[in-house]
């Protein structure tokens, strides 16, 4: 009993920095954003209580609907591609190969560019009407489109950008792969298991904690996708709002349209959605994630 209490104290000791940060820096702003979501607030004058008006207004807002649509496309198409790509490359780069460090660094480069302003120009350079992709297609006699600037395709170029920046998920997978004891593979080899079998019965199960992490984080990051659209569309979400991601609209409303109240309402709707989504994933994880315990 006494020991348990002492251990509780130690546990809280470990949590202390986080708790201070939570109470001092995080919780307050979160709660005040919840309050602001029920107000008319333009940042410049005092907020004024209006009840649930911000929430109900959103449902008549055409751009809001569009932003939900665009974001869902990004998530549904993009998340599986990002995870699959990252895992494949991580497995590929986990082999014994000369110059691995060099390859890993090269593969990480796109992620290094992150939110660089140069991305906007680069992307037009690749996916523009006179871009690389169309030059490539021209060899086969195909006349390409202006991928970045056509409202039918623009969002897919941003998905491509996200997949191309698989670096961070890749590194996390790589770290997870490294944690798998070599002995397991060795004894499997002795038993004559094929590479695919080893992947299926050793690698995959043992990497599930990391896979769960990457799945949840990729989901959250994709639902919150902002930087790429902000940079490539120069903060407009165009053409025709085809890259108007949810968080981009939220930002525009909060900082550009003098409507922080609605932005806060959007943020809390997003939080609820993500909360539910994550809860579902966590619930199912009981059935497919294997921890060391």
């Amino acid at each position: 009993m006494f020991q348990a209490k002492k251990n509780y104290l130690i546990a809280y000791g470990f949590l202390l920095p986080w708790l201070i940060g939570l109470i001092g820096l995080v919780l307050g702003p979160m709660i005040s954003s919840l309050y602001l979501s029920f107000t008319n607030y333009d940042l410049l004058t005092s907020p004024e209580w209006i009840g649930i008006g911000n929430y109900t207004d959103l449902f008549g807002d055409r751009v809001f609907k569009k932003s939900v649509e665009v974001t869902l496309v990004f998530v549904i198409v993009g998340v599986p591609l990002q995870l699959l790509g990252a895992l494949l490359v991580a497995v590929l780069l986990n082999q014994k190969l000369r110059g691995l460090g060099f390859y890993r660094t090269i593969y990480y480069i796109p992620s290094l560019l992150g939110g660089s302003v140069a991305i906007a120009i680069l992307w037009k350079n690749i996916f523009g009407l006179d871009g690389l992709i169309n030059d490539f297609l021209a060899w086969f006699g195909i006349q390409g489109e202006g991928w970045v600037s056509n409202p039918n395709y623009a969002v897919y170029t941003l998905i491509a950008l996200a997949v191309w920046q698989f670096g961070s998920s890749m590194v996390i997978f790589l770290a997870g792969l490294k944690q798998i004891p070599m002995e397991l593979y060795e004894s499997a080899s002795v038993d004559g298991a094929t590479a695919f079998r080893k992947f299926k019965s050793i690698t995959l199960p043992l990497i599930t904690p990391v896979l769960l992490f990457n799945l949840i984080m990729t989901l959250i990051k994709s639902v919150q996708v902002f930087t790429s659209a902000f940079i490539v569309s120069e903060g407009t979400g165009g053409p025709s709002n085809s890259t108007m991601f949810y968080t981009l609209l939220l930002y525009l409303k909060g900082f550009s349209y003098f409507d922080m109240g609605t932005a806060a309402a959007m943020a809390w709707l997003l939080l609820i959605f993500l909360g539910l989504l994550t809860a579902v994933v966590f619930f199912t994880s009981k059935y497919w994630v294997h921890y060391g315990d």
Binding site: N7, P17, W18, L100, L174, F255, M260, L271, L274, G292
Partner: protein, 280 residues
């Protein structure tokens, strides 16, 4: 047997290299653009510059007023290193508590931690600014570093929780039998075995802080406090003429530190675990 193995290796090499070229393209393009004279940057999209000049680097380095880009590098470096150390220590502490210890309210706290990742930062930014302003921390590096020393980055806590939970529990149990308390287990067993996760945290924190434009833009106001992302934006003017050449030149330079750090750390991710000799 060896022949087919070598052939397989060759194929893998070719594949990895070919794909690598696609990945490398942006950097090659950026370097090439940084070497072009200003007027050719947009009119000559080719990778091979028609005319090579280093003016952009000279002009870019001088930045603006009497402030050079070297200062921006120094400022970015200080902030990124503190953020990195802060996240390593405090996030791993919190993660250890979540992954290995029992205490009241554990589930609630964990859910709260995940929640903090989900709320878009744009709406908490202003209230947070008010707090930092009331502490008189605006235009210092404190708003950018103190949160990292207080483990406010739930992402990394969650990351490490997942890795810590992957470490076999028998190790802790046998250590407990030997009379080790939770603190010693954390220091002697968990941390050494989670080196890949720690390095991952270190790399990401450094890089994301290095790249972060928005919060640095909000909190840093005087030019001598500016960081690399803010310095780069000084070259751009959406209405007048921008110094794209200088922008590209300094962007190239700003990649060097993070590329170097990545190169060495990724090696550690691999070797770190091999030397600790983890047994399953």
């Amino acid at each position: 047997m060896t022949n087919s193995l070598n052939f397989k290796k060759l194929i893998t090499h070719l594949f990895v290299l070919g794909f690598g070229l696609v990945m490398l393209y942006p950097v090659v393009w950026m370097v090439s653009s940084s070497l072009k004279p200003e007027y050719l940057i947009f009119s000559d999209p080719g990778l091979w510059p028609k005319e090579v000049t280093f003016d952009n680097y000279i002009k870019g380095w001088q930045a603006v007023g009497d402030v050079t880009f070297g200062l921006f590098f120094k400022n970015s470096f200080v902030i990124s290193v503190i953020a990195m150390l802060g996240n390593l220590v405090t996030c791993s502490m919190a993660a250890y508590a979540f992954a290995r210890m029992n205490f009241p309210l554990k589930k609630t706290f964990f859910a709260l931690m995940i929640f903090t990742i989900m709320l878009p930062t744009h709406v908490t930014l202003v209230p947070q600014y008010v707090i930092f302003h009331s502490l008189d921390w605006v235009n210092t590096i404190l708003p950018l570093t103190v949160p990292k020393l207080l483990a406010t980055d739930g992402f990394f806590i969650f990351l490490m929780v997942q890795f810590f939970r992957g470490i076999p529990k028998e190790l802790d149990e046998s250590a407990t039998m030997d009379g080790c308390g939770p603190i010693r287990i954390y220091l002697r067993i968990i941390l050494p075995l989670a080196v890949p996760a720690l390095l991952t945290t270190a790399i990401f924190t450094f890089m994301w802080t290095w790249d972060d434009f928005f919060s640095q833009m909000i909190y840093l106001t005087s030019t001598d406090k500016f960081t690399v992302p803010l310095g780069l934006r000084l070259f751009l003017d959406s209405e007048g003429s921008s110094s794209w050449g200088a922008l590209f030149a300094m962007s190239v330079l700003s990649l060097i530190p993070i590329m170097t750090i990545f190169f060495f750390f990724q090696k550690q991710i691999v070797e770190g675990i091999a030397t600790t000799g983890l047994k399953g």
